[in-house]
Structures are given as structure tokens and as C-alpha cells.
Amino acid sequence: MSEYFANIFYGLKSFAEGLQLTMRHFRNRKDLVATLQYPHEKWPIEDRHIGFPLEEYNIIRSRLNVDIDDCIGCLQCERACPVDCIKIETIKPPKGSDFDCGITSNGTKMKMLVARFSIDMTECMFCNLCTFPCPEDCIYMVGGPNSSKHEIEYEYASRDRESLIFQFANPSESDVLAVGGENYLRAKAGLPPLAPEVPVKPVETVSTATEKPTPTAGEPDVKVLNGITDRMVRATAKKAFMAAARGGSDLAAIAKSIQAALEEAGKFTDEAKAVLDSLAVTQTPTPVTVNEVSSEAKPDIKTLNVLEDKMVRGMAKKIFMAESRGGKSASEMVDAILAGLKEADKLTPETEAVVRQLAPEVPVSTPKPSAPVTDFNVKVLNGIEDRMTRGLAKKAFMAAQREGKSASEIIQTVQTALSEADKLTDDVKTLLLSIGGDKA
């Protein structure tokens, strides 16, 4: 019983104490209020300046910022990021280019152009790991009163996700092109990249190296027309395409002839027009000025590795490098190497043979103004409609090619073979003529 009353008494006492305490807080609210009315009053951000050059940076982590002018594209922050929210793309200017990438505020000379530096703050986990390895102190967290170097910002809330993906690098298109970033621009525009470029060793003059077009770009491709959905229209268009292509006309002319054919058939729909436009846009800008030699007779320093004598090899390579830096062609280089070796009295017949391999004896063909040389493979014969004839022609073509005959000779052979089998129709004859048979 006494415990019963003791409990009640203890309870009342503790209740009174608690009520007294809350009443004290109620009465002293003016001193004790701990909150701030957020949009009107703001909590002072901790003004801690700390960092790499001490007293420079603020470490309050609200957002990542990048001084892109200082970024040398070393990718260290990208590697440090545990969640891969930093994406950097750099373009290195080709050797010999005099493009100036700039100098950082630390005085480091930048060696490449940072084409893209995006940070996805929706993925960032604010761990601050990326800021430590940066050699130029150009990536840092912002959020407090910074030094004069960086602007003060407080809230980084946003209503959509897109605005939380920050693009720091924004190089001008001309800059990107100047450092050889066509592929980068193409990828940005959603186009397929150019074919892997031959490692730039300016054997030929710089101009040929940069102007070199892609092997595929100039090729009229009938596949473009697959974009047309109507079967009938597609067939008509393809036929016209083939005919025009066989005639050796360029893309604009092809498009025109297709259009004419479709209009004749009364099938020139909007869709077809769009496809034709794209054909013209994607494929016309590459003029067919192919320099066969530059791609096929590319001299390779590795050829010289066959040389057994170390001295000879070293000397040959030295000359090779010097010549290639001078932008000489392969044959000139061979001459130079041979001369050099002769001077040093090291020229054996074997060596000469090896060196001569640098420049193949037979330049494949000379550029032809009317027909794209890149067309010159067995596929050109696909235009022949009769299967038997096509097979025969291809067989003869391959045999002739294996014998190492020149283009005109090959076509001559094919023509002979077909006429022997009595399959040389007018159609085939025109085709063969169109790919250079007439020059034979």
C-alpha cells in the first residue's frame, strides 16, 4: 500500500517537474528559439577556408564547380570519382599543329583541348574525393563565402534533372576542328564516327593528311533508300539509283535522277523526298579527290625491323624518321635511306631489298576523274542482273586481280571472258565501260 502511494507521489512529482520545465521553455521562448525562418533568415554558412593552396577554397560541400580555363584534362578527378558522375573528353591536337591550348593560372601549359567536362550532380555523392588529386586545383566544392576567386552561391535546388547536369567545357566548334576533333563533333551530332584514322604520320604533306576523306563517304550507298517504307517506291528508287550510279554520276546527280524517276512514276512522296534529302546531305560533302598512294603506300618504319645488323637498322631508322618529319614521300625516303647507307658503306643487296619494300614498286592506279577508284573491287559487278553472267564476270575479275593486273587490264580480262562465253550483253558492256573498261 505504501508503495502504491509512493508511486503516485513520485509520479505527481515527476509530472510537476516536467511541466515546470516545459513552462520554462514556453516562457523563455525569446531566448530559447533555436530555429530560423528559412527563406527570410539564413543560417550563416561555416566560413572555413581550407584547401590546396591554403586559405583559397571553401570546403562546404554543396556543389562541384570547375574552373575550366585551368583544367588540363588529366582525368584524375574522373578516376577518383566513386560513382562516375564526372565525364571528361579531351582532344589532343595532332603533332605539328600550332593550336594553342592555353596556360593555367598555375602556369602549366595545357596540352589538350577539353571538349567536354560534365558533372551530373544528380549522381554526385558529395564525397569530395575528386577535389584532392587535381593538380591545378580547378575542381572544388562550392557552397560558402569563397575567396574572390569563386562566386558565392547558397542553394542549388532545381526543378528538373537536366539543369543539374553541368557542362563546364564549352569549346567553340572551330577550336575543336582545329585540334582534329571531327569525330567528336560527329558523335555530338549523332552521326557515326569517321573510320579509324590512320595514325598521323605526315608522310605526305600535311594538307593531304588532313584532307583525306573516308573511304566510305563518297560511295553512293543504295542502302540509304531503305528508309522508304513503300515497297514499290523503294524498288523504283533503287533501280534509278543503280542506273545513275553506274553512269558514274555524283550523289547530287543520283538524287536528281531518282527524283525524276519517281516523279515519272507518280510516286514522289514526302517521305521519299526526306530520304533523298538526307542522302544528299549526308553524303555529298566529300569530294572525290582520293589520293590512292597516301593510303596504300604508307611507309612503315616497322618494315626496317627485318634488318639484322643493329647498326644498319639504327641508321636506316634514323634517316627514315628524319625524312618522314620532312614530309617526304615513300620513294624519296627509300632513295634517301639507300643513299645514306651507301655512304656508310653498309648497303648489302638484302638491305636494299628490305628498304625498297617501303615503297611498293607498283603504284596501284592513278586517280580517275570520272570513276571513283574506291569502287574498284568486285562489288562493282553486282550491277549485273543476270546471275550467270555476274558469276562468270566475278570469277574472271578475281583471277585477274590475283595476277596483279591493273584496273584496266582486269576489266579487259572480264570483257574477254564474257564475250567468250557469249554473255556480253549491252547492259554488261555499259557497266564495264562505266568502271573504266573504255580506258583499256
Binding site: 516536467g18 511541466l19 516545459t22 521553455h25 521562448r29 525569446k30 528559439v33 533555436a34 530555429t35 527570410h40
Partner: protein, 357 residues
């Protein structure tokens, strides 16, 4: 013939207008009470917790320069929000009962106000059984609570409603026993008679030590009956999510809210009337003040005093709520059956002896 009809119609219209007037008045009082009490509660809780509470809505917002009592439009904005909210009835709920339940609870609170005085004359009906009527009617809400819990078809709601029923029914007993003590002394159930007794003698709380104790027993039971902390086990947001209100939203939930704060007001006014002298001014009780101070008595001052006392008691309820933790179900029952009821019974006996002496 004509005369009889006319007089009947006259009576009917006069009664009708009186009834509708009273109804509108009661509804307004309930609504205004809820608006003010919610704001008051939010502010009290905020100040006790070193916060500021609502500060943005209304002319005295933070921008208005009021540092502590700003944001007075908050509850109005909340009401608008509640009334425009989507009204959700769960698929598996018993829809008819679920719709009915809030109205039963609301009607329980509404009808109780008929017997609740706001002043000596601001009283809808001066029953001869005034207190009995109030106690009886304030128990009607339990039916609605059980219906709400059952009809929601939610296990948490069911727990909440059954806890609530057990709690309210249990705490009726100490509350009733404490009031009987007053009735015994005053010799009437009529509210005018009880306040009249207090006017003639003294406030009932100062009648005797037993009456003083009875005041606390009644007030604690009143807190329990209105389901407020530390007796808020039917809602118990950390245990039962929201108890029997879990599945309700929008307008129906607003009715619950309205009724809850109306019940608070009823309990506090009744405590004020029965124990704290009702509409009598504090000065009138003690004879030490000069005569001229008695001008604070009268019809309108009476309304002021009764509301003043009620609001003070509401503040105490809020003060409890933001100070104490919550009891467990069995401890709640322990408190009722083993502490409050024995005390109330002993009180009753002792007061009877006191009166005989």
C-alpha cells in the same frame, strides 16, 4: 380555424428559427474553436519545443514583423486544404458505415453543446438534467469511433477504435463520480443551480479538500475522454499510425478534427462551470475586492470569464500533451480502475460525511 392554423404556424416558425439559430451558432462556435485551438496548439507546442511554429500564412507572418505569434492564417489555409483534398474510400472498406461514422461523431459533439453554457443566458436549453445530459451525449461519439475503426477494414484502425472504446467507457466512471460529488453538494443537476450554489458560497474547487481532488480526477478523466496525450493511445501515431483515423482523409477527417477540439472545449467548459465558478468573475468570489470591481460581472463579462477559464484549461491540456509520454493500454486501465475510481469513491463518501457535519 384560421386562427388556430396561424398560431400553430407562428409557433412552428418561431421554434424553427430558434432551432436553426441555435444550430448555426453551435456550428460556428465549433468551427471557430477548432480554428483557434489548432493554431493555439501549434504555437504552444512550438514554443515548448524551442520552435516558432507556423509563421508564413496571414497578415502577421514573418514578413509582417511579428516574431512569435505570426502565421495566424495557417489554420484557415489548412481547412481549405482539407476540404479540397481528394476523398478516399478504401476499396475493401464498408463504405456506408465509413461514411456514416464521422457524422455520428460530429453529431455527438454537436448535440452536447445544447446543454453547454457560454454564459448565464447564452445557453440553448437550461435543462433540469443539464450535467447528466452533457455526460450522456458526449459518450455518443464512441459509437462513431467503433464504426470508423471497423468500417475502415484496417487492422490498425480496429486496434485504435477498440482501445478508444475501452478507454472512453472506463473513464466515464471517475468523471461521473466526480460530478456526482458536485451534484450532491449543490443538490441539482441543473447548471444554473450549480453555478448559483457557487455564487452563494464559493467556487466548488475550494469547497473542501475532497472537491479539490475531485477537480483533478475529473480533469484527468476529461483529458482521457478526449483522447489526448498522455492518454492518446487510440491514435498513438508511433504505434497505430493514426489509430481509427488511419483511412480517413479530406472532409471526413476534418469532421473528426472538428469533433475532437469541440470535445476538448466541452470538457473544459464543463470543468470551468462545475468547479471554477462558471461565469462568475474571480473577483466576486473573494470579498476582499472593492465593490466597484464587481462591474466585471454581467452577461457578457460572464461569457468572457467562462471562456477565459475554458481556454486556460485547454492550455493545460496542451501543456500536458507536449510534456508527457504516452501510457500503455493496461497502464491506462490501471490508472482508471485502481487509482482514479478508488479516489473518486472515497471522495464521494468523505464529501457526504463533510456535508453531514
Amino acid at each position: 380555424m384560421n386562427g388556430i392554423w396561424a398560431s400553430t404556424l407562428d409557433i412552428l416558425t418561431s421554434y424553427g428559427s430558434m432551432i436553426s439559430l441555435a444550430g448555426v451558432g453551435i456550428f460556428l462556435i465549433m468551427a471557430v474553436n477548432a480554428l483557434v485551438a489548432v493554431y493555439f496548439e501549434r504555437k504552444v507546442s512550438a514554443f515548448m519545443q524551442d520552435r516558432l511554429g507556423p509563421m508564413e500564412v496571414g497578415i502577421f507572418g514573418f514578413k509582417g514583423g511579428k516574431k512569435f505569434w505570426g502565421g495566424i492564417g495557417q489554420t484557415i489555409a489548412d481547412t481549405v486544404k482539407l476540404l479540397t483534398k481528394e476523398d478516399i474510400l478504401p476499396d475493401s472498406a464498408d463504405k456506408k458505415l465509413m461514411i456514416l461514422a464521422p457524422f455520428i461523431i460530429f453529431i455527438g459533439a454537436f448535440v452536447t453543446f445544447i446543454g453547454v453554457p457560454f454564459s448565464s443566458v447564452l445557453l440553448v436549453s437550461n435543462f433540469n438534467i443539464g450535467i447528466f445530459y452533457i455526460i450522456a451525449m458526449s459518450s455518443v461519439g464512441v459509437v462513431g469511433i467503433i464504426l470508423a475503426g471497423w468500417a475502415s477494414n484496417n487492422k490498425w484502425s480496429l486496434y485504435g477504435s477498440l482501445r478508444s472504446a475501452a478507454q472512453i467507457i472506463s473513464y466515464e466512471i471517475p468523471a461521473g463520480l466526480s460530478l456526482i460529488l458536485v451534484v450532491l453538494v449543490a443538490g441539482s443537476l441543473n447548471i444554473h443551480d450549480i453555478v448559483g450554489w457557487q455564487a452563494d458560497h464559493r467556487w466548488f474547487i475550494f469547497h473542501s479538500p475532497m472537491a479539490f481532488l475531485a477537480f483533478f480526477v475529473y480533469f484527468i478523466s476529461g483529458v482521457a475522454e478526449t483522447n489526448r496525450t498522455p492518454f492518446d493511445i487510440p491514435e498513438a501515431e508511433s504505434e497505430l499510425v493514426a489509430g481509427w483515423m488511419t483511412e480517413y482523409s479530406g472532409f471526413r477527417w476534418a469532421l473528426f478534427f472538428l469533433s475532437e477540439y469541440a470535445n476538448m472545449l466541452i470538457v473544459c467548459i464543463l470543468t470551468a462551470v462545475v468547479f471554477l465558478g462558471g461565469w462568475l468573475s474571480p473577483m466576486a468570489m473573494f470579498n476582499i475586492f472593492p465593490e466597484s470591481w464587481l462591474i466585471f460581472d454581467g452577461i457578457w463579462w460572464g461569457a468572457f470569464w467562462i471562456m477565459f477559464k475554458a481556454i486556460f484549461l485547454i492550455f493545460v491540456m496542451m501543456w500536458f500533451r507536449w510534456t508527457f509520454p504516452r501510457l500503455r493500454v493496461d497502464q491506462l486501465m490501471y490508472l482508471c480502475w485502481k487509482v482514479l475510481i478508488p479516489f473518486a469513491l472515497v471522495n464521494l463518501v468523505l464529501v457526504s460525511i463533510w456535508e453531514l457535519l
